[in-house]
Protein backbone atom coordinates (compact mmCIF):
# COMPACT_ATOMS: atom_id res chain seq x y z
CA UNK A 1 0.00 0.00 0.00
CA UNK A 2 1.19 3.51 -0.66
CA UNK A 3 3.63 4.60 1.93
CA UNK A 4 2.81 1.66 4.14
CA UNK A 5 5.88 -0.59 3.98
CA UNK A 6 7.63 -0.64 7.32
CA UNK A 7 11.14 -1.07 5.95
CA UNK A 8 11.47 -0.76 2.22
CA UNK A 9 15.16 -0.28 1.45
CA UNK A 10 14.41 -0.44 -2.23
CA UNK A 11 10.70 -0.18 -2.88
CA UNK A 12 9.53 -0.92 -6.37
CA UNK A 13 8.63 2.36 -8.03
CA UNK A 14 4.94 2.50 -8.74
CA UNK A 15 3.27 5.01 -11.05
CA UNK A 16 1.02 7.35 -9.16
CA UNK A 17 -2.51 6.29 -10.00
CA UNK A 18 -5.10 8.79 -11.09
CA UNK A 19 -7.47 8.86 -8.13
CA UNK A 20 -11.02 7.69 -8.76
CA UNK A 21 -14.02 9.78 -7.76
CA UNK A 22 -14.35 7.58 -4.68
CA UNK A 23 -10.72 8.12 -3.63
CA UNK A 24 -11.03 11.86 -4.20
CA UNK A 25 -14.27 11.92 -2.24
CA UNK A 26 -12.76 10.04 0.69
CA UNK A 27 -9.75 12.34 0.75
CA UNK A 28 -11.95 15.43 0.71
CA UNK A 29 -14.03 13.90 3.47
CA UNK A 30 -10.88 13.49 5.58
CA UNK A 31 -9.95 17.10 4.84
CA UNK A 32 -13.39 18.27 5.98
CA UNK A 33 -13.66 16.11 9.09
CA UNK A 34 -10.12 16.29 10.44
CA UNK A 35 -10.12 20.03 11.04
CA UNK A 36 -7.24 19.90 13.52
CA UNK A 37 -5.01 18.36 10.86
CA UNK A 38 -5.37 21.40 8.55
CA UNK A 39 -4.99 19.31 5.40
CA UNK A 40 -4.18 21.57 2.45
CA UNK A 41 -5.70 21.01 -0.99
CA UNK A 42 -2.29 19.90 -2.27
CA UNK A 43 -1.85 17.35 0.51
CA UNK A 44 -5.43 16.17 0.12
CA UNK A 45 -4.77 15.46 -3.56
CA UNK A 46 -1.76 13.34 -2.60
CA UNK A 47 -3.82 11.51 0.01
CA UNK A 48 -6.36 10.72 -2.72
CA UNK A 49 -3.49 9.17 -4.71
CA UNK A 50 -2.49 7.09 -1.68
CA UNK A 51 -6.06 5.89 -1.22
CA UNK A 52 -6.31 4.92 -4.88
CA UNK A 53 -3.00 3.09 -4.70
CA UNK A 54 -4.23 1.16 -1.66
CA UNK A 55 -7.45 0.29 -3.45
CA UNK A 56 -5.51 -0.97 -6.47
CA UNK A 57 -3.24 -3.18 -4.35
CA UNK A 58 -6.19 -4.53 -2.38
CA UNK A 59 -7.84 -5.71 -5.60
CA UNK A 60 -5.63 -8.78 -5.16
CA UNK A 61 -7.97 -9.93 -2.38
CA UNK A 62 -10.77 -10.28 -4.88
CA UNK A 63 -8.81 -12.85 -6.85
CA UNK A 64 -8.48 -15.10 -3.83
CA UNK A 65 -10.94 -17.89 -3.23
CA UNK A 66 -11.38 -17.94 0.51
CA UNK A 67 -14.13 -20.23 1.75
CA UNK A 68 -16.89 -19.08 4.05
CA UNK A 69 -15.39 -21.10 6.91
CA UNK A 70 -11.89 -19.62 6.57
CA UNK A 71 -11.52 -17.68 9.80
CA UNK A 72 -9.11 -14.82 10.39
CA UNK A 73 -5.99 -15.83 12.23
CA UNK A 74 -6.82 -13.55 15.12
CA UNK A 75 -10.15 -14.43 16.69
CA UNK A 76 -11.94 -13.11 19.72
CA UNK A 77 -11.56 -15.36 22.77
CA UNK A 78 -13.95 -14.66 25.63
CA UNK A 79 -11.86 -16.33 28.29
CA UNK A 80 -8.46 -14.89 27.39
CA UNK A 81 -7.87 -12.80 30.52
CA UNK A 82 -9.08 -15.57 32.82
CA UNK A 83 -6.29 -17.97 31.86
Amino acid sequence: MAGSRAAPPVPTPKPTPAPSALANGLARSLQRELKAAHLSDELTAKIAGDIQSNFDIAKAFRKVRLRNADEPDTVFFAGRDEQ
Partner: protein, 466 residues
Protein backbone atom coordinates in the same frame (compact mmCIF):
# COMPACT_ATOMS: atom_id res chain seq x y z
CA UNK B 1 44.12 -6.24 23.79
CA UNK B 2 43.75 -3.26 21.45
CA UNK B 3 40.73 -0.98 21.63
CA UNK B 4 39.61 -2.21 18.21
CA UNK B 5 39.85 -5.85 19.25
CA UNK B 6 37.82 -5.14 22.40
CA UNK B 7 35.27 -3.06 20.48
CA UNK B 8 34.51 -5.91 18.08
CA UNK B 9 34.83 -8.83 20.51
CA UNK B 10 32.08 -11.44 20.65
CA UNK B 11 29.90 -12.01 23.70
CA UNK B 12 31.86 -15.20 24.46
CA UNK B 13 35.18 -13.31 24.25
CA UNK B 14 33.97 -10.53 26.52
CA UNK B 15 32.55 -13.08 28.96
CA UNK B 16 35.89 -14.89 29.17
CA UNK B 17 37.68 -11.61 29.90
CA UNK B 18 35.17 -10.70 32.58
CA UNK B 19 35.56 -14.05 34.30
CA UNK B 20 39.37 -13.90 34.10
CA UNK B 21 39.16 -10.39 35.60
CA UNK B 22 41.23 -8.96 32.72
CA UNK B 23 38.44 -6.43 32.28
CA UNK B 24 35.52 -5.41 34.47
CA UNK B 25 31.94 -4.74 33.44
CA UNK B 26 32.37 -1.13 34.61
CA UNK B 27 35.41 -0.78 32.34
CA UNK B 28 33.47 -2.26 29.44
CA UNK B 29 30.49 0.06 30.02
CA UNK B 30 32.78 3.11 30.20
CA UNK B 31 34.65 1.93 27.09
CA UNK B 32 31.51 1.50 24.98
CA UNK B 33 29.92 4.71 26.31
CA UNK B 34 33.03 6.56 25.18
CA UNK B 35 32.79 4.98 21.74
CA UNK B 36 29.09 5.85 21.51
CA UNK B 37 29.92 9.47 22.41
CA UNK B 38 32.78 9.62 19.92
CA UNK B 39 31.28 7.81 16.93
CA UNK B 40 27.51 7.97 17.50
CA UNK B 41 27.13 11.52 16.13
CA UNK B 42 29.11 10.58 13.03
CA UNK B 43 26.62 7.79 12.33
CA UNK B 44 23.44 9.42 13.73
CA UNK B 45 22.98 6.12 15.52
CA UNK B 46 22.38 7.21 19.12
CA UNK B 47 19.46 8.97 20.80
CA UNK B 48 20.25 8.80 24.52
CA UNK B 49 23.21 7.58 26.55
CA UNK B 50 22.37 6.04 29.92
CA UNK B 51 25.58 6.84 31.82
CA UNK B 52 24.32 6.63 35.38
CA UNK B 53 22.24 3.53 35.01
CA UNK B 54 24.89 1.81 32.91
CA UNK B 55 27.65 2.38 35.44
CA UNK B 56 25.42 1.36 38.37
CA UNK B 57 24.37 -1.89 36.66
CA UNK B 58 27.93 -2.60 35.56
CA UNK B 59 29.31 -2.13 39.09
CA UNK B 60 26.59 -4.45 40.38
CA UNK B 61 27.55 -7.05 37.76
CA UNK B 62 31.18 -6.80 38.87
CA UNK B 63 30.24 -7.13 42.52
CA UNK B 64 28.18 -10.23 41.80
CA UNK B 65 30.96 -11.89 39.83
CA UNK B 66 33.39 -11.07 42.63
CA UNK B 67 31.24 -12.90 45.14
CA UNK B 68 30.68 -15.85 42.81
CA UNK B 69 27.25 -15.06 41.42
CA UNK B 70 27.36 -15.63 37.65
CA UNK B 71 24.14 -14.97 35.77
CA UNK B 72 25.36 -16.56 32.54
CA UNK B 73 26.83 -15.58 29.17
CA UNK B 74 25.46 -12.02 29.19
CA UNK B 75 26.63 -11.21 32.71
CA UNK B 76 28.33 -7.82 32.61
CA UNK B 77 27.92 -7.34 28.84
CA UNK B 78 26.79 -3.85 27.75
CA UNK B 79 24.09 -3.44 25.09
CA UNK B 80 21.81 -0.87 23.44
CA UNK B 81 18.10 -0.85 22.65
CA UNK B 82 16.12 0.60 19.79
CA UNK B 83 14.42 3.73 21.04
CA UNK B 84 10.98 2.16 20.92
CA UNK B 85 11.79 0.00 23.95
CA UNK B 86 10.95 1.53 27.33
CA UNK B 87 13.79 2.03 29.78
CA UNK B 88 12.50 3.36 33.09
CA UNK B 89 12.71 7.15 33.27
CA UNK B 90 14.73 7.57 30.08
CA UNK B 91 13.41 9.32 26.98
CA UNK B 92 11.70 6.82 24.68
CA UNK B 93 11.06 8.82 21.55
CA UNK B 94 9.99 6.22 18.99
CA UNK B 95 12.27 8.20 16.65
CA UNK B 96 9.52 10.72 16.08
CA UNK B 97 9.27 14.42 16.82
CA UNK B 98 5.79 14.19 18.41
CA UNK B 99 7.16 11.80 21.06
CA UNK B 100 10.50 13.45 21.88
CA UNK B 101 9.38 14.29 25.39
CA UNK B 102 8.00 10.84 26.18
CA UNK B 103 9.25 8.50 28.90
CA UNK B 104 7.84 5.54 30.81
CA UNK B 105 8.07 4.74 34.53
CA UNK B 106 8.97 1.10 33.90
CA UNK B 107 11.32 -1.15 31.96
CA UNK B 108 10.10 -3.14 28.99
CA UNK B 109 10.04 -6.88 29.65
CA UNK B 110 12.99 -7.38 27.29
CA UNK B 111 15.06 -4.93 29.36
CA UNK B 112 14.00 -6.65 32.60
CA UNK B 113 15.01 -10.03 31.20
CA UNK B 114 18.36 -8.81 29.99
CA UNK B 115 18.99 -7.28 33.39
CA UNK B 116 18.08 -10.58 35.03
CA UNK B 117 20.67 -12.17 32.73
CA UNK B 118 23.26 -9.66 33.95
CA UNK B 119 23.44 -7.51 30.80
CA UNK B 120 23.96 -3.77 31.17
CA UNK B 121 21.81 -1.32 29.21
CA UNK B 122 23.91 1.67 28.10
CA UNK B 123 22.11 3.43 25.23
CA UNK B 124 18.87 4.11 23.41
CA UNK B 125 19.56 3.79 19.70
CA UNK B 126 18.20 5.65 16.69
CA UNK B 127 15.34 4.36 14.59
CA UNK B 128 13.12 5.33 11.70
CA UNK B 129 10.24 7.37 13.08
CA UNK B 130 7.38 5.17 14.31
CA UNK B 131 9.29 2.17 12.90
CA UNK B 132 8.42 3.39 9.42
CA UNK B 133 4.77 2.60 9.97
CA UNK B 134 3.47 5.75 8.32
CA UNK B 135 5.66 5.07 5.27
CA UNK B 136 9.04 6.52 4.27
CA UNK B 137 11.06 6.85 1.12
CA UNK B 138 14.34 8.36 2.32
CA UNK B 139 17.03 7.72 4.91
CA UNK B 140 16.28 11.03 6.64
CA UNK B 141 13.15 9.72 8.32
CA UNK B 142 13.89 10.32 11.99
CA UNK B 143 14.37 13.40 14.12
CA UNK B 144 17.94 12.19 14.66
CA UNK B 145 18.72 12.47 10.94
CA UNK B 146 19.77 9.79 8.47
CA UNK B 147 21.52 6.89 10.19
CA UNK B 148 24.55 5.68 8.26
CA UNK B 149 26.22 2.36 7.71
CA UNK B 150 29.75 2.46 9.16
CA UNK B 151 31.04 0.88 5.95
CA UNK B 152 30.46 4.05 3.94
CA UNK B 153 29.01 7.16 5.52
CA UNK B 154 27.31 8.22 2.32
CA UNK B 155 24.97 5.24 2.57
CA UNK B 156 22.00 4.27 4.76
CA UNK B 157 22.18 1.95 7.74
CA UNK B 158 18.89 0.31 6.90
CA UNK B 159 15.85 0.50 9.11
CA UNK B 160 13.83 0.80 11.01
CA UNK B 161 16.25 -0.62 13.62
CA UNK B 162 18.84 1.77 12.18
CA UNK B 163 20.94 2.64 15.22
CA UNK B 164 20.92 -0.95 16.45
CA UNK B 165 22.51 -2.19 13.23
CA UNK B 166 24.87 0.75 12.80
CA UNK B 167 26.08 0.74 16.41
CA UNK B 168 26.79 -3.00 16.47
CA UNK B 169 28.58 -2.75 13.13
CA UNK B 170 30.82 0.11 14.33
CA UNK B 171 31.70 -1.63 17.59
CA UNK B 172 29.79 0.86 19.74
CA UNK B 173 27.89 -1.89 21.57
CA UNK B 174 28.45 -5.67 21.65
CA UNK B 175 24.80 -6.28 20.75
CA UNK B 176 21.54 -4.38 20.42
CA UNK B 177 17.82 -5.02 20.50
CA UNK B 178 15.79 -4.11 17.42
CA UNK B 179 12.29 -4.77 16.23
CA UNK B 180 10.71 -5.97 13.02
CA UNK B 181 7.24 -5.58 11.56
CA UNK B 182 8.19 -6.16 7.93
CA UNK B 183 11.97 -6.15 7.47
CA UNK B 184 13.21 -3.80 10.19
CA UNK B 185 15.84 -6.21 11.59
CA UNK B 186 16.75 -7.82 8.27
CA UNK B 187 17.37 -4.46 6.57
CA UNK B 188 19.99 -3.05 9.00
CA UNK B 189 21.58 -6.49 9.28
CA UNK B 190 22.00 -6.44 5.50
CA UNK B 191 23.14 -2.84 5.17
CA UNK B 192 25.49 -2.82 8.17
CA UNK B 193 26.98 -6.30 7.76
CA UNK B 194 25.85 -7.70 11.11
CA UNK B 195 23.93 -10.79 12.21
CA UNK B 196 20.27 -10.02 12.88
CA UNK B 197 17.70 -12.41 14.27
CA UNK B 198 13.98 -11.91 13.84
CA UNK B 199 12.38 -14.38 16.26
CA UNK B 200 9.08 -16.16 15.80
CA UNK B 201 6.05 -14.00 16.56
CA UNK B 202 5.30 -14.54 20.25
CA UNK B 203 8.78 -15.80 21.14
CA UNK B 204 9.77 -12.50 22.79
CA UNK B 205 7.47 -10.32 24.88
CA UNK B 206 6.79 -6.89 23.44
CA UNK B 207 5.52 -5.39 26.67
CA UNK B 208 6.96 -1.90 26.94
CA UNK B 209 7.76 -1.63 23.23
CA UNK B 210 5.97 0.70 20.82
CA UNK B 211 3.15 -1.03 19.00
CA UNK B 212 2.93 -0.52 15.27
CA UNK B 213 1.11 -3.72 14.27
CA UNK B 214 -0.01 -5.96 17.08
CA UNK B 215 -0.11 -9.05 14.86
CA UNK B 216 3.26 -8.46 13.13
CA UNK B 217 5.63 -6.79 15.62
CA UNK B 218 8.60 -8.80 16.96
CA UNK B 219 11.66 -7.86 19.04
CA UNK B 220 15.03 -9.43 18.29
CA UNK B 221 18.79 -8.92 18.55
CA UNK B 222 21.42 -7.55 16.17
CA UNK B 223 24.82 -9.02 16.96
CA UNK B 224 28.31 -9.82 15.71
CA UNK B 225 27.41 -13.43 14.93
CA UNK B 226 24.51 -15.85 14.77
CA UNK B 227 25.83 -17.50 17.93
CA UNK B 228 25.69 -14.20 19.80
CA UNK B 229 22.10 -13.79 18.63
CA UNK B 230 21.29 -17.20 20.10
CA UNK B 231 22.81 -16.19 23.43
CA UNK B 232 20.70 -13.04 23.54
CA UNK B 233 17.53 -14.84 22.49
CA UNK B 234 18.08 -17.36 25.28
CA UNK B 235 17.82 -14.49 27.75
CA UNK B 236 14.80 -12.69 26.31
CA UNK B 237 12.55 -15.52 25.09
CA UNK B 238 9.53 -16.77 26.96
CA UNK B 239 6.00 -16.22 28.13
CA UNK B 240 5.16 -12.91 29.75
CA UNK B 241 1.85 -12.24 31.47
CA UNK B 242 2.06 -8.64 30.22
CA UNK B 243 2.01 -9.72 26.54
CA UNK B 244 -0.89 -12.03 25.74
CA UNK B 245 0.71 -13.06 22.44
CA UNK B 246 3.90 -14.36 24.08
CA UNK B 247 4.27 -18.08 24.45
CA UNK B 248 6.13 -20.57 26.59
CA UNK B 249 8.06 -22.69 24.11
CA UNK B 250 11.47 -24.25 24.66
CA UNK B 251 14.45 -22.61 22.98
CA UNK B 252 17.13 -25.27 23.20
CA UNK B 253 20.28 -23.41 22.23
CA UNK B 254 22.65 -24.38 20.86
CA UNK B 255 20.89 -26.94 18.71
CA UNK B 256 22.55 -30.37 18.64
CA UNK B 257 25.35 -30.51 16.06
CA UNK B 258 24.33 -31.96 12.72
CA UNK B 259 26.35 -33.70 10.08
CA UNK B 260 24.05 -32.48 7.35
CA UNK B 261 21.36 -29.84 6.94
CA UNK B 262 18.47 -29.78 4.50
CA UNK B 263 18.19 -26.37 2.86
CA UNK B 264 16.11 -24.94 0.06
CA UNK B 265 16.63 -21.92 -2.12
CA UNK B 266 13.60 -19.91 -3.12
CA UNK B 267 12.93 -19.90 -6.83
CA UNK B 268 13.59 -16.49 -8.34
CA UNK B 269 14.99 -15.02 -5.12
CA UNK B 270 18.22 -13.91 -6.81
CA UNK B 271 16.75 -12.94 -10.18
CA UNK B 272 16.54 -9.18 -9.68
CA UNK B 273 19.54 -8.69 -7.42
CA UNK B 274 22.64 -6.60 -8.00
CA UNK B 275 25.46 -8.64 -9.55
CA UNK B 276 27.54 -8.59 -6.35
CA UNK B 277 24.57 -9.72 -4.27
CA UNK B 278 24.04 -12.63 -6.64
CA UNK B 279 27.74 -13.49 -6.77
CA UNK B 280 28.01 -13.49 -2.98
CA UNK B 281 24.83 -15.53 -2.68
CA UNK B 282 26.19 -18.14 -5.08
CA UNK B 283 29.44 -18.27 -3.10
CA UNK B 284 27.40 -18.71 0.08
CA UNK B 285 25.53 -21.61 -1.49
CA UNK B 286 28.86 -23.20 -2.45
CA UNK B 287 30.02 -22.98 1.16
CA UNK B 288 26.70 -24.33 2.38
CA UNK B 289 26.89 -27.36 0.08
CA UNK B 290 29.72 -28.62 2.31
CA UNK B 291 27.23 -29.01 5.12
CA UNK B 292 23.84 -29.24 3.46
CA UNK B 293 21.77 -30.64 0.68
CA UNK B 294 20.11 -27.80 -1.21
CA UNK B 295 16.95 -28.09 -3.24
CA UNK B 296 14.79 -25.40 -4.79
CA UNK B 297 11.26 -24.56 -3.73
CA UNK B 298 8.68 -22.08 -4.94
CA UNK B 299 7.16 -19.60 -2.55
CA UNK B 300 3.39 -20.14 -2.45
CA UNK B 301 1.36 -17.53 -4.27
CA UNK B 302 -0.47 -15.15 -1.97
CA UNK B 303 -1.36 -11.46 -2.31
CA UNK B 304 1.58 -10.52 -0.08
CA UNK B 305 1.63 -6.78 -0.80
CA UNK B 306 -2.09 -6.47 -0.21
CA UNK B 307 -1.90 -8.55 2.98
CA UNK B 308 0.97 -6.73 4.64
CA UNK B 309 -0.28 -3.36 3.38
CA UNK B 310 -3.80 -3.86 4.74
CA UNK B 311 -2.53 -5.03 8.12
CA UNK B 312 -0.06 -2.17 8.53
CA UNK B 313 -2.71 0.31 7.38
CA UNK B 314 -5.44 -0.98 9.70
CA UNK B 315 -3.34 -1.74 12.78
CA UNK B 316 -0.85 1.10 12.29
CA UNK B 317 -3.68 3.50 11.57
CA UNK B 318 -5.39 2.49 14.81
CA UNK B 319 -2.14 2.60 16.81
CA UNK B 320 -1.41 6.15 15.70
CA UNK B 321 -4.92 7.39 15.04
CA UNK B 322 -4.57 10.24 17.55
CA UNK B 323 -1.59 11.92 15.90
CA UNK B 324 -2.99 11.30 12.42
CA UNK B 325 -6.30 12.95 13.30
CA UNK B 326 -4.82 15.91 15.14
CA UNK B 327 -2.22 16.54 12.46
CA UNK B 328 0.90 15.83 14.53
CA UNK B 329 2.12 13.34 11.95
CA UNK B 330 2.85 16.52 10.01
CA UNK B 331 5.87 16.84 12.34
CA UNK B 332 7.50 13.68 10.97
CA UNK B 333 10.71 14.08 9.00
CA UNK B 334 9.76 12.10 5.89
CA UNK B 335 7.23 13.66 3.48
CA UNK B 336 5.64 10.23 2.84
CA UNK B 337 5.32 9.67 6.57
CA UNK B 338 3.61 13.03 7.05
CA UNK B 339 0.65 11.93 4.94
CA UNK B 340 0.73 8.11 4.82
CA UNK B 341 -1.49 7.67 7.86
CA UNK B 342 -4.45 9.50 6.34
CA UNK B 343 -5.10 6.83 3.74
CA UNK B 344 -4.95 4.25 6.55
CA UNK B 345 -8.06 5.78 8.12
CA UNK B 346 -10.17 4.71 5.16
CA UNK B 347 -8.87 1.14 4.86
CA UNK B 348 -11.72 -1.25 4.19
CA UNK B 349 -12.39 -3.48 7.18
CA UNK B 350 -13.10 -6.41 4.86
CA UNK B 351 -9.63 -6.06 3.31
CA UNK B 352 -8.03 -6.24 6.75
CA UNK B 353 -10.12 -9.26 7.71
CA UNK B 354 -9.32 -10.97 4.42
CA UNK B 355 -5.61 -10.33 5.03
CA UNK B 356 -5.96 -12.03 8.40
CA UNK B 357 -7.92 -14.90 6.82
CA UNK B 358 -5.11 -15.46 4.32
CA UNK B 359 -2.51 -15.87 7.04
CA UNK B 360 -3.62 -19.33 8.07
CA UNK B 361 -3.41 -20.93 4.61
CA UNK B 362 -0.09 -19.12 4.17
CA UNK B 363 1.26 -20.69 7.36
CA UNK B 364 0.00 -24.08 6.25
CA UNK B 365 1.66 -23.74 2.85
CA UNK B 366 4.97 -22.76 4.45
CA UNK B 367 4.66 -25.56 7.00
CA UNK B 368 4.43 -28.00 4.09
CA UNK B 369 7.79 -26.70 2.87
CA UNK B 370 9.37 -26.97 6.32
CA UNK B 371 8.23 -30.59 6.56
CA UNK B 372 10.92 -31.30 3.96
CA UNK B 373 13.68 -28.81 4.76
CA UNK B 374 15.29 -27.25 7.83
CA UNK B 375 15.59 -23.77 6.41
CA UNK B 376 15.13 -21.59 3.36
CA UNK B 377 18.12 -19.60 2.17
CA UNK B 378 17.96 -16.43 0.08
CA UNK B 379 19.71 -13.09 -0.39
CA UNK B 380 18.50 -10.86 2.43
CA UNK B 381 17.92 -7.93 0.07
CA UNK B 382 18.44 -7.41 -3.63
CA UNK B 383 20.92 -4.55 -3.23
CA UNK B 384 23.52 -3.07 -0.95
CA UNK B 385 22.54 -0.04 1.15
CA UNK B 386 21.07 2.88 -0.81
CA UNK B 387 22.66 6.36 -0.63
CA UNK B 388 21.38 8.65 2.10
CA UNK B 389 20.68 11.52 -0.28
CA UNK B 390 18.56 9.77 -2.92
CA UNK B 391 14.93 8.65 -2.44
CA UNK B 392 14.82 4.88 -2.10
CA UNK B 393 12.62 4.43 -5.16
CA UNK B 394 15.24 6.21 -7.29
CA UNK B 395 18.36 4.61 -5.80
CA UNK B 396 18.65 1.31 -7.62
CA UNK B 397 16.14 1.09 -10.47
CA UNK B 398 15.81 -2.34 -12.01
CA UNK B 399 16.46 -4.32 -8.84
CA UNK B 400 13.71 -5.49 -6.55
CA UNK B 401 13.18 -7.66 -3.51
CA UNK B 402 10.92 -10.66 -3.69
CA UNK B 403 8.08 -11.23 -1.26
CA UNK B 404 9.99 -13.59 1.07
CA UNK B 405 10.47 -11.13 3.95
CA UNK B 406 6.81 -10.12 3.89
CA UNK B 407 5.68 -13.74 3.55
CA UNK B 408 7.69 -14.77 6.59
CA UNK B 409 6.56 -11.82 8.68
CA UNK B 410 2.95 -12.57 7.79
CA UNK B 411 3.49 -16.19 8.80
CA UNK B 412 5.31 -15.12 11.97
CA UNK B 413 8.28 -17.39 11.29
CA UNK B 414 11.90 -16.63 12.25
CA UNK B 415 14.86 -15.59 10.13
CA UNK B 416 18.49 -14.76 10.69
CA UNK B 417 20.48 -12.57 8.29
CA UNK B 418 24.27 -12.81 8.24
CA UNK B 419 26.89 -11.04 6.13
CA UNK B 420 27.78 -12.73 2.83
CA UNK B 421 30.43 -10.43 1.36
CA UNK B 422 30.73 -6.97 -0.12
CA UNK B 423 29.38 -5.19 -3.16
CA UNK B 424 29.43 -1.74 -4.72
CA UNK B 425 31.01 1.12 -2.73
CA UNK B 426 32.49 -1.32 -0.21
CA UNK B 427 29.06 -2.08 1.22
CA UNK B 428 28.08 -5.41 2.77
CA UNK B 429 25.57 -7.89 1.40
CA UNK B 430 23.55 -10.42 3.35
CA UNK B 431 22.15 -13.91 3.16
CA UNK B 432 19.23 -15.02 5.30
CA UNK B 433 18.04 -18.31 6.68
CA UNK B 434 14.34 -18.71 7.35
CA UNK B 435 12.99 -21.42 9.62
CA UNK B 436 9.80 -22.99 10.83
CA UNK B 437 7.87 -21.41 13.69
CA UNK B 438 9.94 -21.65 16.88
CA UNK B 439 12.80 -23.11 14.85
CA UNK B 440 15.31 -20.41 15.82
CA UNK B 441 17.85 -22.90 17.18
CA UNK B 442 17.96 -24.62 13.80
CA UNK B 443 18.45 -21.50 11.69
CA UNK B 444 21.03 -20.17 14.14
CA UNK B 445 22.73 -23.56 13.90
CA UNK B 446 22.99 -23.45 10.13
CA UNK B 447 24.02 -19.77 10.16
CA UNK B 448 26.69 -20.59 12.75
CA UNK B 449 27.93 -23.44 10.57
CA UNK B 450 28.07 -20.99 7.63
CA UNK B 451 29.98 -18.46 9.73
CA UNK B 452 32.45 -21.12 10.84
CA UNK B 453 33.33 -21.52 7.13
CA UNK B 454 33.42 -17.82 6.23
CA UNK B 455 34.87 -14.72 7.83
CA UNK B 456 32.52 -11.98 6.62
CA UNK B 457 31.18 -11.49 10.15
CA UNK B 458 34.73 -10.90 11.39
CA UNK B 459 35.30 -8.01 8.96
CA UNK B 460 34.86 -4.64 10.60
CA UNK B 461 34.76 -1.04 9.34
CA UNK B 462 38.36 -0.28 10.25
CA UNK B 463 40.34 1.92 10.56
CA UNK B 464 37.50 4.46 10.52
CA UNK B 465 36.03 3.01 13.73
CA UNK B 466 39.19 1.82 15.47
Amino acid sequence: MSDAALAFASIDDLGRRLRRRTVSSAELAAFYLKRLERFGPRLNSVVTLLHERAMAEARQADAELARGRDRGPLHGIPYGVKDLVAVRGAPTTWGAQPYRGQSFPYDATVVKRLRAAGAVVIAKLAMIELAGGMGYNQADASFTGPCKTPWNLKFWSGGSSSGSGSSVSAGLVPFAIGSETDGSIMSPANNCGVSGLRPTYGRVSRHGAMALCWTLDKLGPLCRSARDAGLVLSAIAGRDADDSTSVRRPFDFPAPARARWRLATVKGAADKTQPAVKKNYMAALSALREIASIEEVSLPEFPYDAMVGSIIAAEGGAAFREIIQDGRIGQLADPDGRRGGYSYLVTYAVDYVDAMRERRPLRQALNAIFAKVDALVAPTYSTVAPPIDIPFDKAYPGFSDGPLISACNLAGIPAVSVPSGFGASGLPTGVMFVGRAFGEAEIIGVADAFQSRTDWHRRHPLPAFA
